[in-house]
Amino acid sequence: MSPSSPVSAGPEAGRTPSTRGGLATLGPGALRLRATLEGVFTGWAAEVGADAVQYPPLMRVEDLHRLDYFQNFPQLAILGAALTEEAAPEYATGGPREASLPAGHLTEASYALPSAACYNVYLDLAGRTLTEGPHKVTTVATCFRRETHYDALRRLLGFSMREIVCVGTKDEVLAHLELFRKKITGYLSELGLPVEIEAATDPFFDASAGRALMAQLFPVKEEFVFDGSLAIGSLNFHRNFFGERCEIRTADGEPAFTGCVAFGLERWISALTSHFGLTEDELADRVLAAGRP
């Protein structure tokens, strides 16, 4: 155990994160790397004047209806319910110990686990008029997505998403996204992590020619893709959808536009680890060094 790094020598330090059933456990080394990445991202957020906010860990189903959430992403949704008053005593006295609880024992679900960090930003701003220029917020959330399969840190049921959101006029939001497009591209280049920027298309439209047309007509999402398939970050332009739904207005009285930059923290850890083959502490040093001006 070296005196300069007493923590990293423990048995937990270098262990590979376990990801059983899409649920990850990160040990001290991965956590330090994550904290270092977060330092870079929150530093960028501070540079653009984004307020740091923490939102509630659950969302209300009635709020998600306002955003057409279940129409757009029914396959991803994971809901929160309690045991019914009738069923609870049965469990309290030992009851069934199955791997899943039957729907009949559960209350109706009025809560959902968030699948993206930024929905709460728009709901929190509902009814507001932004008179002092664009409003920027950064937040991190544990997000949940029900997927057909999970794949180590690449695709998780529960994962951490850091977002930097801009709410304002169309030009302000597009400028925010363009700024981060450059910032992230430059950073990844300095870091030496090879990533392609790809237009992400709507999952509801399958035909290949149609997909290309859709991507050109509705360029709402660009992804930073590592190794051909792992999106470690994205730039999302929602136009004025959330502004209309949540009645957020800009100074001219028009529905605000919104856009967000999102980082999947476990995916960054996965990409860095697999590309460089360094220890997590060495990776953290590299992440820091690339971030220095």
Partner: protein, 81 residues
């Protein structure tokens, strides 16, 4: 004048997407103004095919064909402005 009826039906369909509007400027960008969005687009193609009586092949269209009412009219109803 079945073609005119068909085109009017398309306008009516687009108006249902934005109940706050009573008319749509023929040069208004339908995508920018979210009259056409990615979720509704597949259904819109179906409406266009129904009203023109022709199948729309993705290989034969470009994004600009769908951006305004004028471009839709020119491309799918073979009319000038």
């Amino acid at each position: 004048m079945s073609t005119v009826t068909g085109f009017d039906a398309v306008i009516q369909y687009l108006l249902t997407k934005r109940p706050d509007l009573t008319s749509i400027d023929p040069d208004l960008d339908l995508v920018e103004n979210r009259i056409l969005d990615s979720l509704g687009f597949v259904n819109f193609l179906y409406v266009l095919e129904e009203q023109t009586g022709e199948e729309i092949l993705m290989e034969n269209v470009t994004p600009s064909d769908f951006r305004t009412i004028n471009s839709i009219r020119k491309r799918f109803f073979h009319e000038s402005e």
